[in-house]
């Protein structure tokens, strides 16, 4: 039985690595060291702590005007899901599509698109910041998630809202999913959008329904919503990190 590589490394080697000496020497595989990834990942905890536990949290993302709308709003991630279930729903104009709200709620809900459209809505022109670095400004209309959560009755044990999606981004992988804490789920600008720029939400942008999480990076705003599940732990979804991209090393708290 061999020791894991991390145990073989002396303290000095670690210190040298932290000082950035090894990457400079071209030893790129230090980035593959789990301990180093964990250590560097601690900075995210610091960001989360500072942005959420130290600084005020009930802040609003800036809202823009019609004049600021991006001429082209880039669609990223899945833009045309091939999943057969989704294709069937899309071919019928999503008449059979239902949003399920389940998990730690008093009253699970099953809502059609027409029911959602009949509810009080919020329209907002906001900036979408992709983790890749670009930004686009779009106009979104939808139902505040907080209203649906009040209707369903969130149980006290619930800590997160998990968004289950219809699309498979990488073949053979799990379907896309995301999650936020209840603070973001009930934020006034967190809406389930069925309209974009005054028209029904296009498939490239997540038809029939996507969530808008306006104070975090774009990958949090999950598209092709099928269900929202209230849970007390993220451990049993995917690799347990709270989202498709989080399972691949990206930050769960994507505030920067």
């Amino acid at each position: 039985m061999t020791m894991p590589p991390s145990d073989r490394r002396s303290f000095l080697a670690r210190a040298a690595t932290i000082l950035g000496l090894l990457p400079l020497a071209g030893c790129d595989d230090v980035s593959l060291q789990p301990w180093l990834r964990r250590l560097l990942g601690r900075a995210e905890g610091l960001n989360h702590w500072l942005q959420r536990d130290v600084l005020p949290t009930r802040t609003m993302a800036r809202e823009y005007t019609e004049a600021d709308l991006s001429p082209v709003f880039k669609a990223n991630g899945s833009t045309d899901p091939l999943d057969p279930d989704y294709r069937r729903l899309a071919e019928d104009g999503f008449v059979d599509w239902r949003l399920e709200i389940r998990g730690l709620v008093e009253t699970p809900l099953l809502l059609s698109l027409d029911q959602l459209r009949a509810m009080p809505s919020r329209t907002q022109i906001t900036r979408h910041d992709c983790v890749e670095g670009w930004s686009c400004i779009g106009k979104w209309k939808g139902v505040p998630l907080a209203a649906l959560l009040i209707q369903a009755g969130v149980r006290p044990q619930a800590r997160y809202a998990v968004f289950h999606c219809a699309d498979t981004l990488e073949e053979g992988e799990d379907r896309y999913y995301e999650s936020v804490g209840l603070d973001d789920a009930t934020h006034p600008q967190t809406i389930l959008a069925y309209e974009m720029n005054g028209a029904p939400l296009p498939i490239a942008h997540g038809a029939p329904l996507r969530v808008r999480i306006e104070r975090q990076l774009g990958y949090k705003s999950a598209k092709y919503l099928m269900a929202i599940e209230l849970v007390d732990s993220l451990a049993r979804f995917g690799a347990g990190k709270g989202g498709f991209w989080e399972d691949r090393g990206y930050e769960w708290y994507a505030g920067i």
């Binding site: 560097l40 802040t59 001429p71 900036r127 505030g255």
Partner: protein, 241 residues
Amino acid sequence: MPSAGRRIWIVRHSAVVRLTHWVNVVCLIVLLMSGLQIFNAHPALYWGLASDFARPLVVLPSFPGWATLPGVQWLAMGRRWHFFFAWVLVINGGVYLASGFASGHFRRDLLPSRAQWRAIGHTVWDHLRLRFPDGEEARRYNILQMLTYLAVIFGVLPAVILAGLTMSPHLDSLVPALLDLFGGRQSARTVHFLCAVALVAFVLVHVAMVVLSGLWNNIRSMITGRYVIEEGGGDDDHAAK
């Protein structure tokens, strides 16, 4: 009449300056390389609130693997390196600033005197001929050094940090004035990049000057603090050479 110059050892840099200098070296290298990794995810720059893909400011080819951290395309890991060392940079910079103000280092060593202002043309001319002061004048920074250091410490570094923070959608919601300061998130991203270019230019010139004006004396003084100056015949550096 070059008389036999007397070698005098002085303490040039305080312990705090030396320590924070080298931590800064590591931070800037890691931040630059991981920053190029992040930039490669979308190697184009824009001006304004958002990205008008039809009108980029500039589209660059991707930076090669030897310049990025990690060397392969790996945005998630580049972000981890970047944000971790951004914290180190900020904490290190905070220590340096607090110490610099408290000890009088900035006032004493970085504020040019009137005499130095008056002689600025002369100093520029000396630099162009790669003639560096010795004797009494070598005890302190020359005015070009002072102004450059002041611009980096109180100009470029705060700007690169603020522009970086402006890219955070959460911090934008907390301090919307950040967006107004830079004229939008995409402008802030461009400023962040330009600041990085300015820092690279500064480091290149800085290292060149270190080499030209006495490599080992300079490096020793930044490690142990001790710096040697030639006194005597060197007092009037124009006569001595």
